[in-house]
């Protein structure tokens, strides 16, 4: 029962973190831009959300919009650094990321901001609409997890819908082509600088939204919450790809990322259940990514061996 709860909890977390993975998918896979901004913009989303809700008593749903806008601004900065000032993509992202660390501290005024009041997150808002957990015959923590799962499904479904639409539009197609072949896009009259910036803006908007959702679900925002976000996002993408292989449609790829994100959380939950410490998680994540990345290589090697035998 404990384990089942842990897995349900992992699922609920995986859904919110999947939105981070969508953002990373846009830059790393679609735009072919190794964007490090995400580690900063994830925490920015959480910080902005915490400031508005805990500091200014904003409606937690409204705060998500502002958090998303803040992430989009961060993406635009990285984009401008790269396209206008010709700073290499990785360095441009790192510069924004590192400056966001200071900015996030300024936003919150401290390194950690809890959502203290009872009705201060989207989860508690929804829970208050429902009858108390006791009447439903379950523990309060179980109800909490179920609400998070419902919200997670809702938000990730919304984002899949948005991304499917956006990357099917003329502009979305041009952004995809920019990630493929910049020379071709320019030859066809496309301003590649513009498309790189728009891609980064959309990506970091999603990442900040994910940060805000995660902050609300865990009950606090922390200035270090974005550390390792890239690896976690990549882990979700790669686990999804390994499970579903690569040749699937765009919408299915996004669903695969959600599944990957949930599986990643389940792996973490299982390992914690076995008795590892939370401080080992970063190492564990790196190992998970390394293993997931090596699976296709190992598969290929196997094929080669078989061919040679024939």
């Amino acid at each position: 029962m404990n384990l089942l709860l842990a897995i349900l909890g992992a699922m609920s977390q995986g859904l919110f973190w999947a939105i981070l993975a969508f953002g990373i998918y846009i830059t790393f896979r679609i735009l072919n831009f190794a964007d490090m901004t995400c580690e900063g913009s994830f925490a920015t989303g959480g910080s902005v959300c915490a400031l508005l809700v805990a500091g200014f008593n904003w409606n937690p749903f409204l705060s998500l919009i502002v958090a998303t806008l803040a992430g989009m601004a961060a993406g635009a900065i990285t984009g401008l650094l790269h396209t206008k000032l010709k700073i290499p993509s990785i360095l441009a992202g790192i510069l924004t990321m590192i400056s966001l660390y200071s900015i996030n501290l300024r936003i919150m005024g401290q390194s950690n901001t809890p959502f203290l009041r009872d009705k201060s997150t989207i989860i508690t808002l929804i829970k208050d609409l429902l009858p108390p957990a006791k009447e439903l015959g379950m523990k309060d923590s179980t109800l909490q997890i179920l609400v998070v799962i419902v919200l997670g499904v809702l938000f990730s479904a919304l984002m899949i819908g948005f991304l499917y639409w956006f990357f099917g539009t003329e502009m979305g197609c041009a952004i995809r082509a920019t990630g493929n072949n910049e020379a071709m896009v320019r030859a066809q009259g496309g301003n590649t600088n513009k498309y790189i910036i728009i891609g980064l803006v959309v990506s970091n908007g999603l990442i900040a939204l994910s940060g805000a959702l995660v902050a609300q679900s865990q009950g606090y925002a922390d200035v270090t919450m974005g550390v390792g976000a890239i690896v976690i996002g990549l882990a979700s993408i790669i686990i999804g790809e390994v499970i579903f292989h690569k040749k699937i449609s765009f919408a299915h790829k996004l669903i695969a990322i959600i599944v990957g994100s949930i599986i990643y959380r389940i792996i973490i939950a299982l390992v914690l259940h076995i008795g590892l410490d939370t401080s080992d998680l970063k190492l564990l994540t790196a190992v998970v990514v390394a293993i997931a990345l090596s699976i296709p290589v190992l598969r290929k090697k196997k094929v080669v061996v078989i061919q040679e035998e024939e």
Binding site: F166, G168, E170, M171, A177, A187
Partner: protein, 264 residues
Amino acid sequence: MLRIEKVYKTFNPGTINEKRVLKGLSLHLNPSDFVTVIGGNGAGKSTTLNMIAGVHVPDAGNIILDGVDITGMPEYERAKYLGRVFQDPMMGTAANMEIQENLALAFRRGEKRGLRWGISKEEKIKYTEALKILDLGLETRLTSKVGLLSGGQRQALTLLMATLQRPKLLLLDEHTAALDPKTANKVLEITEHIVESNKLTALMVTHNMKNAIQYGNRLIMMHEGKIIYDVSGEEKKNLKVADLLAKFESASGGEFANDRMILS
């Protein structure tokens, strides 16, 4: 149609690698001119095309296309006037995208790309018709990824993309050099068909002297950043490869015609 006026271009100026590629190049093209361009390595052929396309900006001189001065216009902006096919078959298309998506990108050359849906139903019919002209069976593979196509198929597709919106000028930069001879001839036939049926103005760089004579109505030979021979009409039709070789040699003092030109 196109007027290039005394264009100069030096790469890496002031360094040990300084290379003066174009030295006062001037060239005038009439509407519907189909010009083949030949010349040795480093003659400035590709640089000239890249200068017209906006990849490089001239150090001095002007480029005027159909009355518009495009000398300093950004590459993506002047793209609305130009169709381009590159030497590398990988360069003209987006490999991870479908054939119809590539065509849709090309169909919007010179137009704003907004939040309308990327491909409309009517377009798909138009693309099927356009692909039939190529006679490569691509019309039944609209949703195939371009990365699955052969080099020749990709060049033919790029050619179609370059002319889907009628360009004022078509730039072909050795677009068959990376293909095997049979495929190269097929792509050249398609090129001739598209250029003539649309009455396009075109500049085609080639290393193959036979092709340079066979195709187009005018031939120019470049050497060290200048045009040293410009021939059109009957005189061009009656040219022989040997005549061109002789021209090359007299212009360059003998060291000019390299193996690649003689063999091709």
